[in-house]
């Protein structure tokens, strides 16, 4: 099993990099564009992007998560577990903070949605900052045991 460790490291790092890159893209390019656009233009942009990204993002981050768990058991390096914890921060932030807002914009059942849109987007941006920082730190935590493994220190 130990000989698969480098392969698992590449999978974890690639998954971590894509997860962080997506969160960073949404924060730096998606969110500002949505905030500046009028409601009628913003809504299809938001729905298209979120519906496109959703499932692939879940798959990629879960693959990274599972690779990190296996790597922790193989190497006993705590940085893999720190990476897991940081990746897991995204879970409650996404499920309990971001997804309710996403569903409001996707289902558009609220008649006052246009009036609330600016405030909802502001909250969405704040929650996305938490997610982006957590994903970035998770990637950094994955890099540590790859560049400086525990037993070479």
């Amino acid at each position: 099993m130990k000989r698969f460790e480098p392969f698992l490291q590449l999978i974890a790092l690639l998954g971590g990099a894509v997860t962080f890159g997506t969160a960073y893209y949404l924060l730096f390019l998606g969110h500002p564009a949505w905030s500046e656009a009028p409601f009628e233009a913003f809504l299809p942009m938001f729905q298209g992007l979120i519906l496109n990204i959703g499932m692939s993002q879940i798959i990629v981050s879960n693959i990274a998560l599972e690779a990190c768990v296996i790597l922790f058991f193989l190497s006993k390096d705590w940085f893999w577990l720190i990476a897991v914890a940081l990746l897991l921060v995204s879970l409650p932030v996404t499920m309990y903070l971001l997804m309710p807002i996403n569903f409001q914009f996707i289902e558009t059942t609220d008649p006052d949605l246009a009036a609330k849109a600016a405030d909802l987007l502001k909250s969405w941006g704040l929650y996305q900052i938490i997610r982006t920082i957590a994903d970035g730190l998770a990637f950094a935590a994955m890099c540590k045991p790859v560049i400086w493994p525990k037993h070479s220190a």
Partner: protein, 133 residues
């Protein structure tokens, strides 16, 4: 085009995946010709940058046009500036990696160094594109 509703996860998987494999291949080649240490890691992480840039433009434009958005993919900087920034980051990464004595230079170290350089470039380039909107 930059706010087109395309699947950025797929684009990043393509760009970072290509960067990873290309870095690994360069790592294996440079290791085989005896170029290990700082210069080997530097070249393995820097040489895939133009290819990744090309892949990014291609996949982002393709994905955006499939989503119904026109125009070309926005560039943070011109190619020489992008390569110069990449060289500076690759030098830093190569220095950090050369302090570690765990791995012998080869496919794995080339792949990991290239991936880290790519993610550093994404952080800089997205912020640059966003600041110019």
């Amino acid at each position: 085009m930059k706010d087109a509703p395309f699947n950025i996860t797929t684009v990043l998987l393509a760009v970072l995946g290509v960067g990873l494999v290309a870095g690994g291949i360069w790592g294996a080649i440079l290791s085989a010709i005896g170029m290990t240490g700082f210069w080997g890691i530097f070249l393995a992480s820097w040489l895939p940058v133009p290819l990744s840039s090309l892949i990014r433009q291609g996949t982002a434009s393709g994905a955006a046009s499939m989503s119904g958005a026109g125009g070309s993919s926005p560039m943070a900087f011109s190619l020489p500036v992008r390569l110069a920034i990449a060289a500076a980051i690759a030098a830093g990464i190569a220095y950090v990696f050369s302090l570690s004595d765990f791995y012998t230079f080869g496919f794995l170290m080339g792949a990991v160094a290239s991936l880290i350089v790519q993610i550093c470039l994404i952080v800089i380039f997205y912020a640059a594109v966003a600041s110019r909107s």
